[in-house]
């Protein structure tokens, strides 16, 4: 049956619909149901298990904020670990940083990477071929349990917590990440849209509180992650890293000579200011 509409199935009482101009690709891999279609407004759209993961037109909001905020805050990131993020958009932003010497990306589903290269070439823009990049096809939770290498920045680019992404929201997983963070290291996580799923922010806050000296969340409003601002989790041992003065960020940003479309040092500073209801939910 020809489908001309995609209705996201995240919530029973509310949702977004996309006109499908064309189905580009569809498969049921061992771990998930992948659908890629074209929409006039958002370009190509990738959905996993009925939930939008990324689109060509708005992906930069999310990828720039998940990558550049910890990388510029760190100052000298050399070793970066990405868990998930099969589409390569996050990787593209990470390899823009000249200080980065090594990026490992752990992806559970090899098919997602292959499909992203084919259908979302602008997400990775050649980053998969960067000599600093290593791809590991494995369960992210298993990888962090077994790696002994120290990491300056760990980025958790997970899918919705229902499905294979579930373990990436567990206390044990965060504990392992904390174990492998280098001194001055930062972990950032995808943490859902608090207006829709406040429980998830609450749960992560509880886990971070027990494990990290400094933790918080910062916001970005991605058009296709519906329900308003989404929160990204922030956890580190160094409380100074999220208090950096604007001038420091501006200087780092200028000397990095990185082109961005969403990220600015001012947005970076402001992103840690959270709505009152989110502060209350996380006990701050």
């Amino acid at each position: 049956m020809a489908r001309n509409e995609f209705a996201e199935t995240l919530y029973d009482s509310y949702g977004q619909r996309f006109a499908i101009d064309e189905v580009c690709f569809e498969s049921r891999t061992e771990v998930q149901h992948l659908l890629i279609f074209h929409n006039a407004k958002f370009g190509r759209v990738m959905a996993l298990d009925g939930v939008v993961q990324t689109t060509q037109r708005d992906e930069f909001y999310y990828h720039e904020m998940l990558a550049h905020v910890p990388l510029f805050a760190h100052g000298q990131p050399r070793r970066v670990l990405i868990i998930g993020g099969g589409d390569g958009g996050l990787l593209r932003e990470v390899v823009k940083h000249r200080s980065v010497e090594h990026v490992t990306k752990v992806e559970i589903d090899a098919a997602v990477v292959e499909m992203a290269k084919t259908w979302f070439p602008d997400h990775s823009r050649g980053a998969f071929d960067d000599p600093r990049f290593h791809l590991v096809i494995a369960d992210g939770a298993e990888f962090v349990r077994t790696t002994e290498d120290p990491w300056d920045v760990i980025m958790i680019d997970s899918t919705d917590p229902i499905g294979p992404g579930e373990v990436l929201f567990s206390n044990d997983f965060y504990r392992q990440c904390q174990r492998i963070l280098a001194p001055g290291g930062i972990m950032v996580t995808q943490n859902g849209v608090p207006f829709m799923q406040l429980d998830e922010v609450r749960k992560s806050a509880r886990a971070f509180r027990d494990l990290f000296a400094d933790w918080h969340f910062y916001g970005v409003a991605v058009p296709t992650y519906i329900g308003g601002m989404m929160t990204l989790g922030w956890a580190t041992e160094d409380a100074g890293l999220r208090q950096l003065p604007l001038e420091v960020l501006e200087e780092r940003f200028a000397s990095a000579e990185i082109d961005t479309r969403y990220y600015t040092p001012a947005i970076h500073r402001g992103a840690f200011a959270l709505p009152r209801f989110v502060e209350e939910a996380i006990g701050k």
């Binding site: 209705a7 199935t9 029973d12 009925g50």
Partner: protein, 407 residues
């Protein structure tokens, strides 16, 4: 040829049986068996279409969700999807069937009142967001998913007059519903409405009407702390068919239901979960005599299908099907039709009057679509009857030799 359970009578020498319950399609059963073997279950998708349309017409403002459990079959699902029908799922296996057929998950509801966390997650991953609960423990299972789902509370209406009473095992007593709703409100879980199932193959719509009235009262109760006002009532299944082969008058059956539904508050949407009504008339069993013996006064005929296989509904669904001894000759005498397993419970009919049959002769049993193949076993390592499909939707991409495209 002898028709055992009423219905039409056919010329004695005919091999082209047109039974009222066979949907009017002329089928050469002998030719089908010669080509495809025996036993067979012959599924006619045109009858699925006819039944869906008739029920949709009898319940004009009701969204129908076919209860897959009655006959979990790809062609049936694809046919109904084309017709615009939704689907009632109860297990992960049923979810998998719909996923494989690319059924839009927004058109599904999950109606099993008792679920494991894995079942909830599997249905959610598929994209089904409507679930049914009937007690507090079940309600609490939805705390982690409360921002995503909306629930129906299943209310029990015991109905001794139904062939299969479905309110003994499941359902919250109507009087206890307000307390359960209160609990849901306290947990911040969205209950969007009420559901019930008054039992399968009911004699009349009296219990549907009673249940709708009682639910209407419950829907009208003030709930100041509610997450949202309730806006759905799911009237379940139970819509009957005539197992004597005569065509049922579903419009007349539904007339009192329509009247009762008219009393609902105007914001309330109505769903139903028909299984039997849609599936039962659509499948016919064809089984062959493989052995015969005279034991005392009676002739025993041993068939290649029985109560462990397609006729399992005689045990689990308490249903007897019309039996047509297609090739019986001569004077009728008391006979027994027995199934192929070694168990003595495996008898389809005892003390029926039919003419003499030879090895290879056929018994044709219409009305065998609902709760038949669905509950068949492979006891004695006997395979289930092969399902042949007539008038399958063109959209169903089966490379399946079991789909028969009749000229």
């Amino acid at each position: 040829m002898t028709d055992l359970r009423g219905g039409g009578s056919l010329p004695a020498d005919s091999t082209l049986a047109v039974h009222p319950a066979l949907g009017g399609r002329e089928t050469d059963w002998h030719a089908l068996v010669r080509t495809h073997g025996s036993p067979l279950l012959v599924l006619d998708c045109d009858i699925i279409r006819r039944q869906y349309r008739k029920l949709a017409q009898a319940l004009p403002d009701v969204s129908l969700y076919y209860a897959i459990k009655a006959l979990p079959n790809r062609a049936v699902i694809a046919t109904l999807a084309e017709e615009g029908c939704g689907f009632d799922i109860a297990t992960n296996g049923e979810v998998a069937m719909l996923e494989q057929l690319f059924i839009e998950p927004r058109r599904t509801i999950h109606t099993h009142p008792i679920k494991r966390d894995l079942d909830i997650r599997t249905a959610l991953r598929y994209g089904c967001t409507t679930f049914v609960v009937d007690n507090v423990d079940e309600l609490e299972k939805f705390i982690p998913y409360r921002h995503r789902v909306a629930l129906l509370v299943r209310v029990s209406f015991p109905n001794p007059s139904a062939r299969v009473d479905l309110s003994r095992k499941f359902g919250c007593a109507a009087d206890d519903v307000p307390a359960l709703l209160k609990e849901a409100d306290a947990l911040g879980i969205h209950v969007k409405g009420l559901s019930f199932h008054v039992g399968s193959q009911v004699a009349d719509a009296g219990m549907h009407v009673y249940a709708i009235r009682r639910c209407t009262e419950l829907l009208r109760l003030p709930r100041p702390d509610a997450v949202a006002p309730m806006s759905v009532i799911d009237i379940g299944g139970g819509f009957p068919v005539n197992y004597d082969g005569s065509i049922e008058d579903i419009d007349a059956f539904c007339a009192p239901i329509r009247t009762a539904l008219a009393e609902l508050p105007s914001n309330v949407r109505v769903l139903a979960e028909p299984g039997r009504y849609i599936a039962a008339p659509a499948m016919t069993c064809v089984t062959s005599v493989v052995g015969r013996a005279r034991r005392g006064e009676r002739m025993w005929y041993y068939l290649d299908d029985g109560v462990y296989n397609s006729f399992s509904g005689q045990i689990y669904d308490h249903t007897r099907y019309p039996l047509i001894a297609l090739d019986a000759q001569g004077e009728s005498r008391p006979s027994v039709l027995a199934g192929p397993t070694c168990d003595s419970i495996d008898v389809i009919a005892e003390d029926i009057l039919i003419g003499e049959m030879q090895i290879g002769d056929l018994i044709v049993a219409p009305m065998m679509g609902a709760y038949t193949a669905a509950t068949a076993t492979t006891f004695n390592s006997l395979p289930r009857a092969r399902v042949l499909t007539l008038a399958a939707p063109a959209s169903l991409d089966v490379d399946d030799s079991n789909v028969v495209r009749l000229a």
